[in-house]
């Protein structure tokens, strides 16, 4: 009983603390699509090893004092000076970077998306040996408030191209629920050159990501948009395009197409092999929908699958489900519009919520775990659900 109480207090406290930190960070490092790492947005503190190094130097100082041994004292001073200088070197190395967020592609909530971060070496020296003045070392990326870390190597030579100064870091991102989210702050950390200090920053790229619903194969209602409501037809999803239909357009001949579709007049006139394209007007304009007594989430998943399917076949389709009413059309933008509408439909969390939860769960088979610490992340996801 007490332990539960304790836990809630702890949770509340940590939640409050987190919100305080977030607010402070918003003031300190305002959101932007690209950041230059400068004195203002870098934090530096000794790592655990750094503290051990300091303690060791102090121990040597004490030992030297007690034995009245100046050489030991001198050694401890040298170690402390190295510590001091490394502070500057660590900062200098990290502050050479500029980072920029790349447009983030939408992904489904059962998959993991990839956030591409472009890392550019700020040319500070201006001289010819800017290669040696590049940032180096391991850079560790993680989403703010999440334990999973994604390490990268900075300044690795790209295909032998020495002048390459921009690097693209693919940072995996996953989300369990559909919707539109603002990305959380991205934490970048680096401990080059000696691992004595950790330089880090929390950057907000003010990037939004659309998380589509998980597709589910199943039956949906396809309503012909031109016809009236009564003429409802239930189709199997696997139904293929039919040949008996209206003339639609002319396209180039490709091998394997039936020869009876070739426009021989055109061939005789200009020598170009052109075929007639037919389209089914019935199928062209159909509205996808799901029976009202199917559970909403399942319905959305079914529709998502169908939209993807139709889009792949290049069909014209529209959406009509609950509040969504999208006129039939085709193309990538249309597909995206449909999927986004589905993703945002009656979402439990508001679409433009600032604090998005990036969860990592065990059932995501595609995800490659880079660290062993998945369990704390799991706990967090549970906390987020409750």
């Amino acid at each position: 009983m007490i332990s539960i109480f304790k836990r809630t207090v702890k949770q509340r406290f940590s939640h409050r603390w987190l919100s305080l930190v977030t607010r402070w960070l918003d003031k300190r490092i305002p959101p932007a699509s690209q950041h230059r790492l400068t004195m203002n947005n870098i934090f530096v503190l000794p790592t655990g090893f750094g503290w051990a190094f300091i303690i060791m130097s102090l121990c040597l100082f004490l030992l030297g004092t007690n034995y009245q041994n100046n050489l030991m004292v001198l050694l401890s001073y040298i170690l402390l000076s190295v510590m001091l200088l490394t502070l500057f070197y660590t900062h200098q190395n990290f502050a050479r970077l500029a980072v920029k967020s790349m447009p983030l592609a939408p992904f489904h909530c059962h998959q993991s998306g990839t956030f591409y971060l472009a890392v550019v070496q700020q040319d500070m020296s201006g001289g010819k040996d800017n290669l040696s003045k590049q940032s180096r070392g391991n850079i560790v990326a993680s989403w703010f408030g999440h334990k999973t870390q994604y390490p990268f190597i900075l300044g690795a030579k790209d295909n032998g191209n020495a002048q390459h100064t921009t690097q693209r870091l693919p940072i995996p991102i996953t989300h369990r629920t559909r919707g539109v989210y603002t990305l959380p702050r991205l934490t970048l950390a680096c401990d080059f050159p000696l691992g004595l200090y950790k330089c880090w920053t929390h950057l907000d790229f003010s990037a939004e990501v659309v998380v589509y619903a998980k597709p589910l194969k199943g039956e949906v209602i396809k309503v012909s948009a031109s016809n009236d409501e009564s003429e409802q037809n239930t189709h199997n999803t696997a139904s293929s395009a039919q040949s008996s239909s209206d003339f639609h357009s002319l396209t180039d001949y490709k091998e394997g197409l039936p020869l009876n579709r070739v426009v021989w007049k055109q061939v005789a006139k200009s020598g170009d092999w052109v075929v007639k394209e037919f389209a089914d007007p019935l199928q062209l304009k159909q509205l996808l929908s799901v029976d009202a007594n199917v559970e909403t989430e399942t319905a959305i998943s079914l529709l998502t699958f169908q939209v993807l399917e139709q889009s792949q076949q290049g069909n014209h389709f529209g959406l009509k489900y609950q509040s969504i009413d999208i006129e039939p059309s085709s193309g990538e933008t249309h597909t995206h519009q449909c999927l986004t509408a589905l993703a945002c439909l009656r979402n439990t969390s508001s679409p433009f919520e600032n604090n998005a939860y990036i969860n990592r769960t065990g059932n995501n088979a595609q995800e490659v775990s880079h660290t062993k610490k998945t369990s704390p992340a799991k706990k967090m996801s549970k906390a987020a659900r409750s």
Partner: protein
């Protein structure tokens, strides 16, 4: 090495993609395993420098760990099972506890550290362990300084430190080539040294905070017992015993007077002279009664002809100290308190574990009083029963002939002088009745034989006498610096005559050059050499001598300024620089040294951007343009010279314009003309300079 280069090559194989999330662990592991190997090598080197402290089996264990690391590196073979290592750890723990009692606390700690390091090194496979071992090796370096204090040792350990830092940098720079890691670490250490030196100068030198365990290692220098029959082992050693620094050349006493008194041997068991137990007891009692030892009062007796000097004493791991006979310790300056005893000898409050500076005041005219009355007289008249009968008879006979003790003593000295005694470091063994054999048969020996025989004879004749050991002589290193080496160890006699202890040196009767020119000369007089062998001949070469002298000078400066740098020297140095030290001044010193560190950091990390290295005439042209820009307020940006000239034309006076035009013409000619290489550079420069002066002058006039 070739394998190493190969690994490097493989690492930069262009087939590796840049920004792949670290799935390629093989890529990282090359750098890691190299760093692990470097750490292991550093450990191996450290083991060999710590041979004094470490037990043989620990070194063997460490070497095994190193071999395992090398095998893992070369063949990337499997690490041993951790169960094996645990078993080894248990065994080592047993061995450590078993031997721990015999080697003392400090050495057991160092051994424990080395064993733990070796075992962890075998299993080393993570970042955490790597960091742990790095810190441990830093501590091992520190332990190395307990016994190794020379400049060579310092440079060597600094090398090990740099190597360790290199391993660390290499570990943390996953794609950094080895050369640039090396460059970085070298820069880092070179930059760190000035800051460390500054800290060393201004940070307060603290006294020991608490008593530390000392190692039970070999005591060096004089021993507290003297058996004349033993081979003079000290004479073989040319190690430094101490260095004495006087204020000026005139203050250095004559060679014959350089008696460095250390120990008083009052107990003789027929074979061996030693410090009397009764004396030790008496000293304890007297100090409990809080009596003032007489040595502390010699200064008040005479202040005219005293000499202050500083001694840098090599570590002896013992308590006793030596000083010019007689000197009073200046305990206000000494970091280790020096106690004086009633036999006028000195004891430091802690054993000398490292080189230490001591300050003394030499009072040449002081005499050694009989400080403890009848106690000393009785103690120094005792003789072991029924030994050396012949000597006893001889002494009694002498007593009959000579009435005063002084005459008696002189008679014994004369006996040595006249009876054909020789000085040798390799006398024959005298197992039975050593003094009889020496006086009447062998008639050959070194200082301990003579002192022992004379003390015995004096006691037999009823004159209280004792043997004193210490050093005699010293080589002049500098105008005001004397160096005394172990082979300068000496023994002489003190006899109680008229309630004063008077010094007699029987060796001087046999080998007068021993006092004036040192042991080597004395031995040479008798056709002997102190050391034999190849190096002995070599050491006489002029080049070798110069080199040796140079090394000694270096070592002296090192001892004086680095090892012997204490609160006292720090104060002196600051007073030399700033005059009288006040609290205000000390605050200023600390603040200014902080700001110096700040400036050093500024210089390191924000270097002033140097102007590109242009030819001189171009620089003059640029300066002229800068003047014009300042005057007109029109910035040139990236206009061509001609365009800019047209823009500012209206703002300028005639003189300026004319000069500027010709300067521009000259500039264009020098930069863009086809024969720009053939131009006379110096002529060009002088022309530019002339025009520049005109521009400057006219603009100044305009401003005015």
């Amino acid at each position: 090495m070739i394998a190493f280069l190969k690994r490097q090559g493989a690492f930069f194989n262009p087939s590796h993609s840049t920004s792949r999330p670290l799935s390629s662990h093989s890529l990282m592991s090359s750098h890691k395993s190299t760093s692990y190997l470097m750490l292991a090598i550093a450990y191996g080197v450290l083991l060999f420098t710590l041979t004094d402290e470490l037990m043989a089996w620990v070194i063997v264990l460490g070497m095994c760990a190193l071999v395992v690391r090398v095998l893992v590196f070369l063949r990337s073979s499997q690490l041993p099972h951790s169960r094996t290592i645990n078993l080894l750890a248990v065994l080592s723990l047993f061995a450590l506890t078993w031997f721990g009692f015999s080697i003392g606390l400090l050495n057991s700690m160092i051994n424990l550290l080395a064993v733990a390091f070796a075992l962890k090194l075998i299993l080393l496979d993570s970042k955490r362990d790597f960091h742990l071992l790095f810190c441990t090796s830093l501590f091992l370096i520190g332990c190395g300084f307990i016994s190794a204090l020379s400049m060579v040792a310092w440079v060597g350990y600094l090398g090990v430190l740099i190597f360790l830092l290199l391993a660390l940098a290499y570990y943390h720079g996953p794609v950094t080539p080895f050369s640039s890691s090396a460059k970085f670490v070298a820069t880092l250490v070179v930059q760190a040294i000035p800051i460390a030196a500054l800290l060393f100068l201004v940070m307060p030198q603290l006294p020991p905070l608490w008593q530390m365990p000392t190692s039970k290692s070999q005591q060096t220098g004089l021993s507290d017992t003297v058996t004349p029959g033993d081979i003079a082992s000290l004479a073989k050693s040319s190690d430094l015993a101490f260095t004495a620094t006087f204020q000026s050349n005139d203050d250095i006493p004559l060679p014959q007077q350089r008696y460095w008194r250390a120990l008083v041997m009052e107990d003789f068991n027929g074979k061996t002279w030693s410090i009397s137990d009764r004396r030790k007891q008496a000293e304890r009692q007297l100090s409990l009664l809080q009596k003032t030892p007489p040595l502390t009062q010699i200064l008040t007796a005479d202040t005219a002809s005293t000499t202050a000097y500083e001694m840098i004493v090599e570590p002896t791991k013992q308590n006793w100290l030596f000083s010019l006979a007689l000197s009073e310790p200046d305990n206000a300056k000494n970091t280790i308190f020096v106690n004086t005893q009633f036999d006028y000898t000195l004891r430091s409050s802690t054993p000398l574990m490292s080189k230490k500076s001591f300050y003394f005041t030499y009072v040449p005219s002081a005499t050694i009083e009989n400080a403890a009355g009848d106690f000393e007289r009785q103690l120094n008249s005792l003789l072991p029963a029924t030994t050396n009968e012949e000597t006893r008879a001889w002494a009694l006979a002498l007593k009959q002939q000579h009435t005063t003790p002084t005459e008696l003593a002189n008679a014994i000295m004369n006996y040595f002088r006249l009876q054909g005694f020789t000085y040798t470091l390799e006398p024959n063994a005298m197992p039975v009745d050593a003094i009889d054999t020496f006086l009447f048969e062998e008639k050959a020996g070194f200082c301990a034989h003579y002192a022992s025989a004379m003390t015995f004879a004096l006691r037999a004749a009823g004159v209280p006498a004792r043997m004193v050991t210490g050093y005699q002589g010293g080589e002049q290193l500098d105008d005001n610096v004397l160096q005394v080496r172990q082979y300068d160890a000496h023994a002489w006699v003190e006899a109680l005559i008229d309630d004063k202890w008077q010094r007699f040196d029987p060796t001087s009767m046999v080998a007068p050059s021993r006092l004036s020119f040192g042991l080597e000369q004395a031995l040479a007089d008798f056709g002997e050499k102190r050391t034999s062998g190849l190096l002995g001949d070599l050491s006489e070469g002029a080049l070798f001598m110069t080199l040796q002298n140079w090394m000694r000078q270096m070592d002296y400066q090192w001892s004086k300024w680095i090892l012997g740098f204490d609160a006292n020297k720090q104060k002196d140095l600051l007073e030399d620089l700033l005059g009288q030290i006040t609290t205000k001044k000390m605050t200023a010193v600390f603040l200014s040294s902080l700001s110096i560190v700040g400036v050093i950091l500024l210089v390191y990390f924000f270097p002033i951007k140097r102007q590109p290295n242009l030819p001189k005439h171009q620089r003059i042209y640029r300066n002229a343009l800068a003047l014009v820009e300042k005057r007109t307020g029109v910035n040139r940006h990236h206009l061509s010279p001609q365009q800019y000239l047209e823009q500012v034309d209206s703002y300028l006076t005639h003189d300026t314009k004319a000069s500027l035009h010709s300067m521009t013409a000259l500039f264009n000619e020098s930069v863009y003309s086809a024969e720009s290489d053939n131009l006379d550079k110096s002529h060009l420069t002088s022309m530019m300079k002339k025009h520049f002066d005109t521009v400057k002058k006219s603009i100044r006039q305009q401003n005015a």
